[in-house]
Symmetry: C2
Subunit: 468 residues, 2 copies
């Protein structure tokens, strides 16, 4: 591993130059949501393509119909090592409310906190410009030390529409499938557990939405003249919602837990040691224990590894000011289910629809929204070779083993890579919970940037030697 | 009772003249809700005051701050008979949608149906111009036959704001309390059971409203990142609503049934014979049995004589189109309770608030609307002297005993008479369920008008001899 040490030394020595490139990237206001910044997005893509070409990759700006994609390939493909696809996104969130920023969001500023830690403040400092550069700068140092050769055959894919839901990405992946083949994808867009503890995100919950309008009486009725014998759609809605959980907090839909497997004991133990107890998690949102949800699981386990049914919206009847004595003709419900393991989105939705139908009084009807596909959960086994390789590398750099984190939300690109390109994704990132991504005064710690680059160099060394 | 027969003969002979006065009253567009018709309301009030003066009463138009009140007193007060206050309202509902009318709403038209029954179509034909005239025209005939003497000391109070919630009435009753003293109030603004069966409405449910906003997390949360351990205000709302009833359909609020007495067996038997079974009542609103509500009661009993809890509106979270993965910070509920017997509106509201508080997870708060007074139920004992007198009179006219009806909604003036003037109200009316009051093509059957007048003459004769 003497060559790795040379790469790490090159990263340390090149830190100022890397930061200059980072700042230059941050000065480009590549706000994908704002059409006024379309040209800035294109300029950013071109700047990144130049950066990659300068590193020795074959790079191009590719049209998508929306903001362009930056695509780059290593030219030396004689390696026996696994092929890697690295994904990042160069677009950023809007900056509103602008007045809440302490410095210009597109003039990166280094400020040192009371804790002595230096941080770079700018829109995109972390998400995802800082994060994606940790990989690219590590790759640059690697190739510099290895006479222009990368650690493995590598493809770089930098998207410009992540913050607006990646409307063009899936079509691009399908059209360019052959160019994007790899053994594993790497994404640098997630967090560490905390400033001292690295993490690999191995579990992403899936999701399926549904929406229903329940129709009862043939018109809105006077609640005095009809109240009592006439079933009220709002009562029906309340009953079918509250019947979604049993006394143990388990979702009652038929077959809901099919495909849900128990959390490995090692993971439960690791998570239990993180200090995130129910009181701490609930305090974040202004509440106190006991937590809601399934009995027998910690709050963290519920978010990272257990499925849920969550009502996102409901209503009916008189919703304006004051009183109105009405039994409404209908009521609506919007719901989503977070999925884990091998839960099937379609089966869950169908079980929900059956639950609704079974709660309808005689003469009631239910009108469901058009069924969307939903997304199954993603789980990368913690003992799979790439995860083990990355874990060992992170432990070397940080002096402690990474946490295998879950993510309660979904990261759509990971599903796209699995379903379109047929590959798993290794999610390693160096963001911190206080980075304020999507918010005013976004920042990225200088140590995140520096040790992030070093972490990637170590991961590169290990992945290059991993058989997948 | 020979003088009664002379009164009935005078009514029969004077039918055409009575109808002319009715039509003249109907031609005045006294729409209280529309400021453009304020002058029409005043003109109608003056017309009625002239009518009453012409009959031999001391009549005046009285200012209220809103549309005026017509007030009239009999001048001959030497009677030993009970004093009577008759109430009606001369204002009418708007006519929209105008295009749905088959004739001009303010040009009364007689049309004979396929069933051979003649009906008068006009806004207010029934509600309340036709109905109030049945009493006034009967009184006119009585006084005509009795040398100008009424059957009892009588005060006439005709309001012009009933269709807009009687905003000025209570203040007027309080200010003129001394002028309005009587032993009983008569109101002609209710229905018969059907075209052949007269009715006395002896039970009006009371009502109390409440409204609450439940506040949970300190902000709207991402349902992926927090879904599971964080209590969702919409779930809390659904649970507390569905917990309002037990398996038997009984309201679970503490002390809710205090003051609710069993329905007399005679009344249950009478109602059971009316042919209004659950299937027929639910079919009216497009539904089928089984009915909702308390087990062990018919649909009619539930509406006329049992209390309810009815959600009139609720909502929270994402209510617009499409999906949004949110756990909302709050949710709202609007509810009303229909009351019977001696249920106390304040106690019911307080029990509801306690129920809400008991369902709140730790850290949640509930913000209730400002408490309004609510209205207790009204029940006039079916065996009280005025009800018995009216029942006997109606049976004489119609050849069958009247139904003692309940009314699921409230008639606020009845509560005002009880609470401000300290008197009970006898509710006798000749409307039919198909009169289309408040709707296009409102009508009043000619037999309702004619037999209504005859009914009042008979009631006058009996009430004059009743000791209260």
């Amino acid at each position: 591993m003497s060559r790795l040490h040379a790469v790490l030394a090159a990263i340390d020595e090149g830190l100022n130059a890397s930061m200059e490139r980072w700042f230059e990237l941050l000065r480009m206001p590549s706000i994908s949501a704002d059409p006024a910044h379309a040209e800035d997005c294109r300029r950013t893509a071109q700047w990144l393509a130049n950066l990659l070409a300068d590193m020795g990759l074959k790079a191009s700006v590719e049209e998508t119909g929306g903001h362009p994609v930056v695509l780059a390939h290593s030219v030396d493909t004689m390696h026996a090592a696994p092929r890697v696809l690295f994904y990042g996104h160069y677009d950023v969130q809007p900056v509103e409310p602008r007045e809440a920023w302490h410095s210009d969001p597109f003039k990166p500023e280094i400020r040192t906190g009371a804790d002595g830690r230096a941080r770079v403040y700018a829109r995109g400092a972390a998400d995802d410009k800082g994060q994606l550069l940790t990989f690219l700068e590590a790759l640059r140092a690697w190739m510099q030390v290895h006479e222009g050769r990368p650690p493995f055959p590598v493809t770089i894919l930098l998207e410009g529409e992540e913050e607006i839901g990646s409307p063009s990405l899936d079509a691009f992946l399908k059209a360019r499938k052959a160019d994007l083949q790899a053994d594993i994808a790497l994404v640098c867009d997630t967090n560490q557990w905390d400033a001292e503890t690295p993490a690999i995100t191995t579990r992403l919950r899936g999701i399926v939405h549904d929406e229903v309008v329940i129709k009862g009486p043939n018109a809105d009725l006077h609640s005095g003249l009809y109240g009592g014998p006439v079933p009220n759609p709002l009562h029906v809605l309340a009953r079918l919602v509250s019947a979604l959980w049993d006394e143990e907090g388990r979702v009652t839909l038929k077959g809901f837990y099919e495909g849900v497997s128990d959390l490995p004991a090692t993971l439960r133990r690791q998570w239990a040691k993180l200090g995130m107890d129910d009181a701490r998690l609930l305090a974040e949102v202004g509440l106190k224990p006991p937590a809601a949800g399934e009995k027998g699981y910690t709050a963290l386990e519920k978010i990272w590894a257990r499925p849920t049914a969550e009502v996102n919206g409901m209503g009916g009847g008189h919703m304006g000011p004051g009183a109105k004595t009405v039994i409404p003709a209908e009521a609506f419900l919007k719901i989503s289910f977070r999925l884990v393991g091998r839960q099937d989105p379609q089966a869950v939705r169908e079980a929900f629809r059956e639950h609704v139908r079974q709660h309808l009084p005689a003469g009631f009807t239910a009108r469901f929204a058009e069924a969307e596909a939903g997304a199954p959960a993603i789980e990368i086994p913690e003992d799979s070779p790439p995860v083990k390789a990355a874990a060992a590398a992170l432990e070397e750099e940080w002096g402690r083993a990474p946490v295998f984190m879950g993510c309660g939300g979904s990261i759509p690109v990971v599903g796209s890579f699995r379903h379109i390109l047929g590959m798993d994704t290794l999610l390693v990132g160096f963001g911190l919970p206080d980075d304020a991504i999507h918010a005013p005064n976004e920042k990225y710690d200088l140590t995140s940037f520096h040790k992030g680059m070093r972490s990637w160099a170590r991961i590169m060394a290990r992945l290059a030697e991993t058989t997948m």
